[in-house]
Symmetry: C2
Subunit: 384 residues, 2 copies
């Protein structure tokens, strides 16, 4: 049986991993739409390889290059935000939503509004727009499958069980490259040190989030939306080897954990084949070779991010969106050498205590809050 | 909704753990039959407490004592092997089959033949009579729920998945009290040293099985019957902390593991409530407090038991029954000071290579093979 798929953000790392899996069972898939921000040539190459129906660049200025690269292929090309939403609304059995940032919100929403199965890899969809997005999921009967390795692990561990039987959900955190650093070392941490992640090969922003543990905090907010068991049942444990991706404990005392390699193809494959399982080339887990898995409680004094994110999730409304925007501005400032590593959390804490907009009721509200929070965060930066 | 339950082997440790759980939600359960071997007074006490319909002692000589202890209670009492089978055949939503040894085969089979849900804690049912028992399960549409912590873990990790998607199943083994001993130390190991199990409080026989790793080998044979993924996909890993109870790896690279305390109430609760979850008083898992989980490959030179069991499972037919009987005789001889610790595996290997009866076609055949194997094993012992 052939299945149809649309990939929003086909030229990014999640898009590449997804296409790698589809390439391995080419006959089982038909690609509907592939989208990119501005990488027209790479997008055209992929659209040709996978015989996509349509290829869309979000950046309209890149459309001529896309058109040229697709000339004679028979593949429809389009450009701009509206074309992106139209592509996302096309019928597809599964939509992979992997556009980074607020730019991913509208197309992701378009797929949800069609009642589709959406494999979600866009953090903002849940962190900033969680309430709005989940309301749309319920209204349109869409199915959300989490791509993030932690949330995918939880999703797998919950299979066949009901939320009322959950005693707790534990997100594992590598603890980042500074997990053993003291306060003094953290204050002097450099961008180069922060972007060296021990287990995953990631971009600079997310590497800094891993070092501050904002990444785990944001995941906590996401988990709060995806798995409504109550914030008090969501836990974090530091697990430097990143082999256990997350866990669910049930009221009978059973804990189910999902383990695997640090390879995004595993959770992506889980989404693509769900509720079945597809083959991946990922190496089998060899616990005897690994030898040991270690665990420790997170230190919210040295790493206040998870505390702040829990606070934001508890407050709800616009607070998580403000936190997310403030963190992005602060991380950029850190990467640009403007603020110290430890100032990131301080800036975020200041922002969520000072700026309290009304709860967003629509995606436009979310985008407005996000934009205003960024402006205010930059002002705060200049004052500092 | 009230559910009905029969407990075959109510006065043993599995029976006690089961009744402890039922005691905690007394209103939800109605006890049909409770059985014991010869502990008439304890059985009568439990039958009264739980208002059982019927109480049965396997040992007919204990029936008068049972009758006396139940006088005026209105609870039916009975004794002997046939009465046991009759009690097991009474309608019950779930039957807990926890009679130790070959004595448990006939009543377990009686429950299976009624197409019941049977929570299975009798090792012989799968090790010695696996083919016969599983054929009856299929024929009568019964449902087997494994009580053993490892098999229950696998059962939970398989939920919602199909066998064809399984890449491997890994049973964890504590490695027993001698896991770090060298060949010389093992040759001199005493019964007192063997029965000191690091993680579970168990009887002498099963403690020795844990020390030799025959326990894990027998579990491998059981897993082979319960989860027909093929023997080559069944693995064993030594995990001294016994926190991870077993794992299933899928073809997409996801591994699901079940973790929990060393408390049999967890797997029993999982069976009692399946496919729901019931509350147990077991303490939550605190991985940060545990700190580390370690894993290593089993050493089949120092501990040949798992190799022998794999060989027996591969051979099939009567071989697992012969292995099980030979091991019981050898363990008894070790506990009695007649043979050294390392002779246990040697005796078992000799037995399975010398005695090759026809594959049992019925429970009677299994019982005959078991009895004859014991006679031969004892003869072998005297020759040595």
């Amino acid at each position: 049986m052939t299945r149809t798929i649309t990939i929003l953000g086909a030229t990014g790392s999640i898009g590449a991993s997804t296409l790698d899996l589809i390439r391995r069972e080419r006959g089982k898939w038909r690609v509907v739409a592939l989208t990119a921000n501005c990488q027209a040539e790479e997008l055209a190459r992929l659209a040709r390889e996978f015989s996509a129906e349509v290829a869309v660049v979000a950046d309209e200025a890149s459309l001529p290059a896309l058109r040229e690269a697709l000339a004679g292929s028979g593949i429809t090309s389009a450009g701009g935000a509206e074309a992106l939403v139209e592509a996302a609304a096309r019928p597809a059995d599964i939509t992979l939503a992997a556009i980074v940032g607020c730019a991913g919100l509208a197309p992701t929403m378009a797929a949800i509004e069609q009642g589709r199965t959406v494999a979600l890899a866009n953090k903002e969809a849940l962190v900033s727009a969680g309430d709005v997005m989940l309301a749309a999921v319920r209204k349109h009967g869409a199915t959300l499958l989490p791509v993030d390795s932690e949330h995918n692990a939880i999703f797998q561990c919950l299979a066949g069980n009901s939320y009322e039987h959950v005693r707790s959900i534990t997100l594992t955190a590598s603890g980042g490259p500074f997990r053993d650093w003291d306060a003094e070392q953290l204050a002097a941490a450099t961008p180069a040190q922060a972007i060296k992640h021990p287990n995953w090969d990631m971009g600079a922003k997310i590497s800094v989030d891993s070092a501050t543990m904002f990444n785990k905090g944001l995941e906590l907010i996401e988990a709060h939306h995806l798995f409504p068991v109550g914030l008090e049942k969501l836990r974090i444990v530091v697990h430097p080897q990143s082999v256990v991706h997350s866990m669910v404990e049930y009221r009978d005392g059973s804990t189910l954990a999902q383990l695997g390699p640090s390879d995004m193809r595993v959770p992506i494959a889980s989404c693509l084949a769900w509720p079945e399982r597809m083959e991946t080339p990922c190496a089998p887990l060899d616990l005897a070779a690994l030898g040991e898995l270690t665990f420790r409680a997170p230190d919210e004094v040295r790493f206040p991010a998870t505390r702040l994110c829990r606070q934001a999730a508890e407050a709800g409304g616009a607070v998580p969106a403000v936190l997310n925007a403030a963190n992005e501005v602060a991380v950029a400032a850190f990467l640009g050498g403007q603020v110290s590593f430890t100032r990131i959390a301080v800036m975020v804490e200041t922002m969520i205590s000072r700026y309290e907009p009304a709860a967003p009721a629509s995606l436009d509200d979310v985008i407005a809050v996000d934009a205003e929070a960024r402006v205010l965060a930059r002002e705060l930066l200049e004052l500092a």
